[in-house]
């Protein structure tokens, strides 16, 4: 869906559900996910439908992911950091994980 222009930032290694993903400095988690071509980042608590980042500006809450163990983070507002562990969020995935 998206490709990077040539002059993107330096590489930052993160994992998404345990698999390595090459992000770049300046990426947010949501941007790294769409750049990596990941289909969806969560499923809904109501019907389990897959969802992906939608607005990338903090209003839609579709890019909710678990970041370093903390659930329901807005992926589009969290900058990537070396070694960050991102998990896609399945339904009501918060307490008692």
């Amino acid at each position: 869906m998206f490709k990077r222009l040539a002059d993107a930032g330096s590489a930052v290694a993160i994992t998404v559900d345990g698999k390595p993903v090459a992000a770049r400095a300046g990426d947010t988690v949501a941007a790294a996910l769409i750049a990596a071509g990941i289909d969806h980042c969560r499923t809904t608590p109501v019907t389990g439908a897959p969802r992906a980042p939608y607005c990338l500006m903090g209003v839609c809450f579709e890019c909710l992911v678990t970041v370093d163990g903390v659930g329901s983070r807005q992926g589009c507002l969290v900058p990537v950091r070396e070694g960050m562990k991102v998990e896609t969020q399945l339904g009501r995935r918060e307490a008692g994980r």
Partner: protein, 469 residues
């Protein structure tokens, strides 16, 4: 980096949002000697229009266009002004006592302000079509953010759909960056021209006229443009095709990415939760705060500047921010030397000149604001248009009651993506006006906070005593 614990317990002026309005306000107030903090939830300042202005990897200035680079001066000026600018700071509460709840790095603080300028800008108007929740469907603004902030440009089969200047700007920027666009579906109702024409003379005098025309020409030369009065995103677990119709002629386009946009509307959540009175603007089809000439709201000491005060664009937003800041400085530090307000108001007036034309021309069609059937109105709680319509017909008079019946607006986005839709659907079903129906009464936190963040609030003196006793 400023941490939550580095913040003072009070500031003279708290500005929420680091777009043009917030940046201009912060620079002016700090230079006038007012202790000023600006909170912005993004990793860098610029807001949406100047997104990532200090860090964008898009080095070829022609791609984003010169208007974008105007933001660099605003950001530099704010930084040099002495205002404390805190990025990654999410303001989740503001009340009429002007207590600001903010989280930085997972830690929360309550900050007292003497004055507050809400500069939270705009968001894209909800575009509820069948399939709009499918992965592969995004907003045009989202794609533009990815381009500005990360240098991501669309590839694969890409369709853009909707109306309004941003759609055409993104198309042009995408093409300049080497992206491909398979088609643009123009949803602007033809009859809008009748109302817009009245305002054409003003628009022709505005700076947007020449820019707009050249954008349209640039895009139309390279991308097929179709008219559409219905659009559907189709796919099982992700988008596979876009189905659209113009009259009775239906067409199908295979697609990996559909970018939707039908204008922007004020981001009302923080102001609404703070108790700021709002009113329905029928030209812009959205709720706007009720404001005085200095952008002061119905809550004493709280102003709303920028597009949050009603859509007028980035340049106007900066002027509005300055006017709001001047009012704040006058109240806080009457002896301070201030710039000439009259000159600022004149610039603002020039900027706002072409607005009526753009508003009338780009008023989205009823069908794209008031969906039917199984189309989701509320994405978070997955409430359909039919459920909202049926419940309104059964007697539900307002969005707050609708929340209780259907849970629409009760999910994490707190009505941002369904509020206008639900209000308009209720008004349509009950034969009344959106003004009469009103909007969700929004409750803090306007952004969700974790229990851990809330628990991290510093323990108050009263509580410490209670525990010791």
């Amino acid at each position: 980096m400023t941490a939550a614990s580095d913040l003072a317990s009070s500031y003279d002026l708290v500005i929420v949002g680091g777009g043009p309005a917030g940046l201009a306000a912060a620079a002016l107030a700090a230079r006038a000697g007012v202790s000023t903090v600006l909170f912005d939830e993004n990793p860098g300042v610029g807001g949406q229009i100047y997104r990532a202005i200090t860090s964008t990897p898009v080095k070829d200035r022609a791609i984003l266009g010169e208007d974008y680079w105007d933001g660099a001066a605003l950001a530099a000026d704010a930084k040099a002004s002495g205002a404390l600018i805190v990025n990654g700071a999410t303001v989740w509460s503001l009340d009429r006592e002007k207590i600001v709840g903010v989280s930085v790095g997972g830690k929360a603080r309550m900050i007292a302000a003497k004055r507050v300028i809400i500069a939270t800008g705009s968001q894209e108007r909800p575009f509820p079509i069948p399939g709009w929740t499918l992965p592969g469907v995004m907003t045009a603004g989202g794609a533009q953010t990815a381009l500005k902030a990360q240098g991501l440009v669309t590839q694969g089969r890409t369709v853009m759909a909707g109306s309004g200047p941003l759609l055409w700007l993104l198309a042009a920027q995408t093409l300049r960056a080497g992206g491909k666009i398979d088609a643009i579906l123009d949803t602007t109702p033809r009859r809008n021209w009748a109302m817009a024409m009245f305002h054409l003379p003003d628009f022709m005098l505005s700076p947007y006229f020449a820019k707009g025309l050249s954008l349209l020409r640039e895009v139309r030369a390279k991308v097929p443009v179709h008219r559409a009065d219905t659009i559907e995103a189709v796919g099982k677990d992700k988008l596979t095709e876009v189905v659209f119709a113009n009259g009775s002629v239906e067409r199908r386009l295979p697609a990996d990415l559909l970018l939707l946009h039908q204008g922007v509307v004020p981001n009302v959540n923080l102001a609404n939760a703070a108790g700021v009175a709002h009113t329905w603007n029928d030209r812009q089809l959205c709720f706007v705060p009720v404001l005085d000439a200095d952008f002061g709201s119905s809550v004493p000491g709280i102003a709303v500047a920028g597009d949050g005060a009603g859509i007028a664009g980035g340049t106007a937003a900066a002027e509005r921010g300055r006017i709001a800041a001047i009012a704040a400085v006058r109240a806080l530090r009457p002896e301070a030397t201030l710039p000439d307000t009259q000159a600022i108001r004149q610039k603002l007036q020039r900027e706002e000149m072409g607005r009526a034309f753009l508003d009338w021309l780009n008023r989205p069609a009823d069908a794209f604001r008031r969906p039917e059937g199984e189309t989701l109105a509320c994405r978070c709680e997955e409430v359909t248009a039919k459920q909202v319509r049926d419940t309104a017909r059964m007697g539900c008079e307002g969005p707050n009651q609708m929340k209780a019946f259907l849970r629409c607006g009760m999910g994490p986005c707190q009505g941002r993506l369904c509020g206008l839709t639900v209000t308009e659907l209720i008004a349509a079903e009950r034969g009344t006006s959106p003004e009469q129906v009103g909007y969700y009464r929004l409750r803090p936190p306007v952004k969700p906070i974790t229990l851990a963040e809330l628990a991290s609030l510093p323990i108050s003196e009263a509580e410490r005593k209670a525990v010791e006793r």
